[in-house]
């Protein structure tokens, strides 16, 4: 279940990122060398960015890669740490669940007046629904981590912010 989710989101994010790369190359190459560009490449990149970021979100939570301040860890007994982690996951569940709900409302609003992209006339609401669903999935993942704390990746988070 967890693995399927990781593979699914991984594929989605990987494809989106690769597509952004190819799209930029073809667009810039076409414009500079052949003076023709890919129509609507800007919009496509924007839609793909949404897929990339929000499909990546569950992966970050699964890998425990959010930036945390963990310097106090060594002074806390394991039992306290476990309770603390459960509370943190509950809070993440609440925050992401709330965000999923907000985005769902926004998607509904946009659908009601039929929002489309300017150039290619692609419908926008499905992508906002996707944002909402993937936030919801990530929220559910944090719920799962409260339920089964052993699934947590080992503490001592590696981040690659900078």
């Amino acid at each position: 279940m967890r693995r399927t989710l990781a593979t699914l989101c991984g594929l989605l994010a990987a494809l989106a990122l690769f597509a952004i790369m190819v799209l930029t190359l073809v667009d810039v190459g076409g414009r500079k060398l052949l003076s023709t560009s890919v129509p609507g490449s800007l919009e496509l990149t924007e839609l793909l960015m949404v897929v990339l970021i929000f499909a990546g979100l569950p992966l970050v939570s699964l890998a425990g890669e959010h930036v945390v301040f963990d310097s106090l860890d060594r002074w806390l007994p394991a039992g306290v740490r476990r309770v603390q982690q459960a509370l943190v996951d509950l809070l993440c569940l609440g925050a992401l669940g709330g965000l999923a709900w907000l985005m769902w409302l926004k998607a509904g609003q946009m659908a009601s007046y039929g929002d489309i992209t300017a150039q290619l006339k692609l419908p926008l609401p499905p992508f906002v629904y996707l944002m909402s669903v993937l936030c919801g999935v990530t929220a559910a993942l944090h719920g799962l981590l409260v339920w089964r704390p052993l699934l947590h990746p080992p503490i001592g988070v590696r981040d690659e912010t900078v």
Binding site: T24, L25, K32, L48, G56, L59, E65, F69, L91, R158
Partner: protein, 430 residues
């Protein structure tokens, strides 16, 4: 003013409870704005911020530069860079340590991440230094410090994100990073010279390479050189935007890795997913920072603080110097990017209000992040090395890095006092 101070306190308190910084910032910003403005507009605003940050063409510069660095790391180019540097200066005392810094600088011109640079170099440079009998404190110190060149020498994740949140031209920021980056490299090499002068056993000389071998080693790095010239040259020369340059760079790095047979489907998938994860993690912080700054900007704090500072008649340089001091101290314990994003809504208007160039301030920010990344007790680069190099004690890593922290502080003071170091090169761009 009070409500903003309370909010900063709340973010720190939540972070101490081990709540991810992005969630702490985002929640405090959301609740704060809700209390000030009412909940309905705040909810609509939050959804709009998330939407706008997601659907943003210019922000694709972030994943593309990350991808470029990851492709190049997998292509094994770091080895060639190190070999080329070694071929010229390996026979000097501490030569391998000097070569490490040069290789880091070279790698930094394709990779925008300090941690990725340090991690890659630990695989490339640590084993030969160990073989030659280098002291662990010197070899780890030099890799950790050299890694930070990754964010000063363009491209740079930090400069890109600074450019995005402050709406400063990313091309200008990249140009501004070149000279300070070279200055940092020079100062770090001076640090190595000092250490090996005091303790010659720490860094014995390697074998001299004949000229024929040197040229062969240089030929090994033409690919990196070409990529750098095309991408950065294109951005500086105005041939394409930073976003387009990042796309070209990622594609070039992809074909390069392909040509070197470093890619199969599995590796390609891993590189893409790894880059996607880093991207998603950065965007959670970015979105949270936007929510937080939306709240801070709604309070009177940025205006009050700015008016107060301007009315006190402090010397402008002293004000910026004080900010840098705050950053360096905070950076010893805090995660650096969050620290910068958290404080920018308050600091940035003051800096521009004092009449300083945002490009120059961006370079200063990178320098304090560099210092924070390698200053104990909480320096990410040090932890990464500790995790990757099993045989080295954290105490040794801490001991070796102090002199290099000092060297970067010298660079910080130099750029603070002498603005043309950052602003001379971007002056040529239109």
């Amino acid at each position: 003013m009070t409500e903003a101070l309370l909010a900063f306190g709340a973010v720190f308190a939540l972070a101490l409870l081990r709540i991810p910084l992005a969630f702490a910032m985002g929640l405090v910003g959301f609740v704060g704005l809700g209390l000030l403005r009412g909940w309905a507009p705040t909810m609509a605003n939050a959804a709009q911020v998330v939407y706008d940050t997601g659907f943003a063409y210019t922000l694709s510069v972030v994943p593309l530069f990350i991808l470029m660095g990851n492709f190049v790391a997998r292509a094994g180019l770091a080895h060639e860079l190190f070999n080329a540097a070694y071929a010229f200066i390996g026979h000097l005392r501490g030569g391998l340590a000097h070569a490490t810094i040069l290789a880091c600088a070279g790698f930094g011109s394709i990779c925008g991440s300090s941690i990725a640079t340090a991690a890659t170099m630990s695989k490339v440079a640590f084993p030969p230094m160990k073989r030659l009998g280098y002291a662990d404190y010197l070899s780890t110190g030099v890799i950790a410090a050299g890694g930070t060149l990754g964010i000063m020498i363009p491209p740079s994740t930090i400069l890109v994100i600074y450019g995005i949140v402050t709406e400063t031209n990313i091309g200008h920021l990249f140009a501004a990073g070149v000279l300070p980056g070279l200055l940092c490299a020079g100062l770090l090499m001076a640090g190595v010279a000092w250490i090996t002068w005091r303790d010659p056993q720490a860094g014995p000389a390697g074998e001299r390479t004949a000229w024929r071998g040197r040229w062969r080693a240089v030929r090994g790095i033409w690919g990196v050189a070409l990529l750098v010239v095309v991408v950065l040259g294109g951005i500086y020369g105005g041939v394409f935007t930073a976003t387009e340059g990042a796309g070209i760079g990622a594609s070039g790095a992809f074909f390069f890795a392909l040509a070197r047979r470093a890619l199969n489907w599995r590796v390609l998938y891993e590189v893409l997913v790894e880059s996607a994860r880093t991207t998603a993690m950065l965007f959670t912080i970015l979105i949270a920072a936007m929510l937080f700054s939306g709240f801070v900007n709604f309070t009177t704090m940025p205006g009050d603080l700015k008016d107060w500072i301007l009315s006190q008649g402090f010397s402008p340089l002293m004000v910026v110097g004080a900010m840098m001091l705050i950053y360096v101290v905070l950076g010893t314990i805090m995660e650096e990017l969050s620290m910068v994003l958290l404080t920018i809504p308050v600091f940035f208007p003051i800096v521009t209000g004092l009449g300083f160039d945002p490009v120059w301030f961006g370079v200063l920010i990178v320098l304090v992040v560099q210092i924070g990344l390698i200053s104990p007790p909480v320096g990410m680069n040090l932890f990464v090395l500790n995790a990757l190099l099993k045989g080295v004690r954290l105490g040794d890593i801490f001991r070796g890095v102090w002199l290099f922290v000092l060297m970067l502080v010298v660079a910080l003071v130099a750029v603070l006092e002498f603005q043309p170091l950052a602003l001379w090169l971007p002056g040529f761009m239109r």
